[in-house]
């Protein structure tokens, strides 16, 4: 039997058909749990959050106009809840220590004065992944959410902006800071390890 389209699935969810709800859970719960854990939540809190996401989704389904995919809609609920729960949804600061570290890498005419020395070999991906968890914990929540939505969940920039409620210029700043902070952190750990 062919898989139902997203539209027909959504109309079955609005009608609260158990099979459609089960299908949505099977399609997205794993990714949502991974995202919640990726935001640094303990296991029990992450599972509770995913459950809350589906409850909110069922309540909101009648108003959902289908302008985004169900997946993006669910991710939106999850990240907003995660940021609100931590009450850390502070405004991104106009300046961030990362900006200064980045600028310190270049001389006055904009050429590298201290070139990058972090890991670069694809063969090291497993090892880098192991070092990354601690580096991610050093990111402010909004930067972490932006980085994860873009790199792990591979959402389009427009969707990430909608989910985080930021303009595209602000998203670029969040990603710039997150990636540089992580790169600097990995470079330090890589140097220690080698």
């Amino acid at each position: 039997m062919a898989e139902p389209t997203e539209e027909s699935l959504l109309s079955d969810i609005r009608a609260r058909k158990p099979a459609a709800i089960a299908q949505a859970v099977r399609a997205h719960a794993g990714d949502l749990l991974r995202a919640a854990l990726g935001m640094g939540l303990p296991e029990a809190d992450a599972e509770e959050l995913v459950q809350g996401v589906f409850t909110t989704f069922l309540e909101a389904a009648p108003r959902f106009e289908g302008r985004s995919t169900v997946r993006t809609f669910l991710f939106g609920i999850l990240y907003r809840k995660a940021l609100e729960a931590g009450r850390k949804k502070s405004r991104e600061l106009a300046t961030d220590p990362t900006d200064e570290v980045f600028d310190g890498r270049f001389n006055w005419w904009g050429h590298w004065s201290r070139g990058p020395r972090g890991p670069e070999d694809e063969a090291d991906v497993k090892e880098i992944a192991g070092l990354l968890a601690e580096c991610l914990n050093g990111l402010p929540d909004q930067q972490r959410a932006a980085f994860q939505l873009k790199e792990v969940d591979q959402e389009e920039s427009g969707s990430v902006c909608n989910i985080l409620g930021v303009e595209s210029t602000h998203l670029r700043v969040l990603l710039f800071r997150a990636r540089n902070r992580l790169r600097e952190c990995l470079e330090g750990k890589w140097k220690e390890a080698s």
Binding site: R16, P18, I21, A22, V25, R26, A29, G30, L33, R34, A35, L37, G38, E47, V50, Q51, F54, T55, L58, F102, D103, R105, F106, W109, G110, H111, W112, G115, P116, G118, P119, E120, D121, E122, D124, V125, K126, I128, A129, G130, L132, A133, L136, F147, Q148, K150, E151, V152, S157, R172, V173, L175, F176, R179, N180, L182, R183, L186, E187
Partner: protein
Amino acid sequence: MKFWSCRDVARMIAEGEFDEASCLRRLLAQVHLLGCRFCRRYLREMRLLSKAARHWAHGLVEGGRRDALEKRLIERLSGSL
């Protein structure tokens, strides 16, 4: 036209603009990269960072745990209908 510095190109890469830039901007950045080993390295490090982040995240949830969560969720949500 402005001649791009390493700082401009690195910023473009870190902001994610490199992959979404117009053909012309991307071409100009590519020309810079051809002649700059540090910027090429920076780009490689950033690409590896993305890959490592996906690798790390996908290892967070193992199959058994996901299946158990799905089962619990389906039971709980069906019960609330």
